[in-house]
Symmetry: C2
Subunit: 288 residues, 2 copies
């Protein structure tokens, strides 16, 4: 019953590649190896786990139940291994004073909070230097998970905080950003349904994790300034947390969206982090 598996990351990497491609040949190519050894490695993995992971005919490869589970969990496990290596690496650099704690935040969001946090932490005795890593939406989660970052500012309910420790910092409502002078910009409130129907002002489309875009009418965007620019040009509108609209230029105006869910900015870190610098940052954030 207690079959000790003892999987190797190599096997997991192979399996994830095949499970993602659902094609041994392409997976082998992606892994930079020939197809036969890959086939063998997978069947060996199946023997070791004691379960069929892939149903394969010569025409089609599909995941079994067990395979789906292993894909999901295997990805997480691989990320954990990567994270371990990277964090050790960075700990060594930090010890020699070359680098330090990496904080990641969504570019353009919570910038005021971020500035206050950095100031407050820097004022503490023995504060480490903080590298700030601004990135696109959804990317922070990955950075935190795979060890390239130590702390993140995330926004519920948009970002997945599963598996991290978090502390809530601030909760705020959302507003819709409109071109200045838009007829509705004088309203005191608006509903999501109304926003969705705004003629000529579709919501922009953000890239998904794999970089592709969902279908729809809105313009494709990759970062925050693009959005602001598109709104100013009268080609789009956007629903954002109030603080993101705090420092608006004259060409934009904001209207509160009454039925949009509240957004909570949280500070998040890997569950078992023992870093003094991370703890200090969290303390500083809570004192704000």
């Amino acid at each position: 019953m207690d079959t000790v598996t003892g999987l190797e990351t190599r096997e997991l990497r192979y399996f994830v590649a095949v499970a993602e491609e659902l094609h041994f040949g392409r997976a082998a190519e992606r892994l930079g190896m020939a197809q036969p050894p890959l086939s063998r490695a997978i069947s060996q993995l199946e023997r070791r786990v004691g379960a069929t992971l892939l149903d394969r005919t010569s025409r089609r490869v599909t995941l079994t139940e067990a395979g789906q589970v292993l894909l999901e969990e295997g990805r997480a496990a691989l990320e954990a291994v990567e994270a371990a290596g990277r964090r050790a690496q960075r700990a060594a650099l930090a010890a020699t004073g070359q680098a330090s704690v990496v904080l990641t935040a969504k570019a353009g969001a919570s910038s005021e909070l971020l500035a206050k946090l950095l100031d407050a932490y820097a004022a503490e005795p023995g504060a480490a230097t903080v590298d700030v890593h601004l990135c696109g939406p959804g990317e922070q989660e990955r950075l935190l998970r795979d060890g390239r970052a130590d702390v993140a500012l995330l926004h519920r309910p948009f970002d997945a905080t599963a598996g991290f420790d978090t502390e809530d910092l601030v909760t705020e409502g959302q507003v819709v950003l409109l071109p200045a002078g838009h007829p509705l910009s004088l309203r005191s409130e608006i509903t999501l349904a109304e926003v969705a129907e705004l003629p000529g002002l579709p919501l922009p489309r953000w890239p998904r994790r794999d970089g592709s875009f969902a279908d729809g009418p809105g313009p494709q965007v990759r970062d925050h300034t693009q959005v602001l620019q598109l709104i100013a040009l009268g080609r789009a509108c956007a629903v954002l947390p109030e603080s993101a609209a705090a420092t608006l230029g004259r060409d934009l105006s904001a209207v509160r969206v009454s039925d949009a869910p509240d957004v909570t900015t949280v500070i998040a870190w890997p569950a078992h982090s023992r870093s003094r610098a991370v703890a200090g940052l969290v303390q500083a954030a809570l004192r704000l």
Copy 2:
């Protein structure tokens, strides 16, 4: 900068063994191998991570900063890999209808809640069979982390819920259990300080994670019934959540402890669990 590490679990296992033993010879023995290949594997790992992990003289081995980080993170990563294998294994069994979701709870705690939960879930259409795994304090966390269990009932603030998704179920105060007829058993409330001073009734000592016991006057205990028995015998007292005292025999009595922290029973599951059965259990728990 973006040095892709590509660690293997074998290397991590070796490192964790050495880091725990702080002795290459003993670690090699524990791993069932000779010492020289272990030394080599570690230095190879150090080259790969790009950092010294262990400071070694011929007399003493100590962890560097980076080593401490890798020990902590590496353990977690190894557990994640194990968990991936085990969960895939169990998913295969579940698909053939042989086994199913494993729920773990502290033996003797929340038994009424547990019974209600199992009943409520079993009444649902399409409910999977639930294996209940009762275990000693602190053990559930490990089971959940390494994939032997799918859901756990945990008790804040005693159990570490870091890295899991949780939902709060009930919060309750704590009581001290005394032998029936004890002079203080007629009091309506008592303080922790008073409990600590009770003449002849020390608090029992639970085993730590490694199985050893802290020093102190109290009797060593390993499970809940031992505690109840010792109290009935007039050899100890214990501070427990109210619900644990709900079904007392005639030989025990409970007094509310006014300044003990509230205990929250939570249902916890691995952060990225996609299992329908787990989701169903959580739903059922929240409806209680």
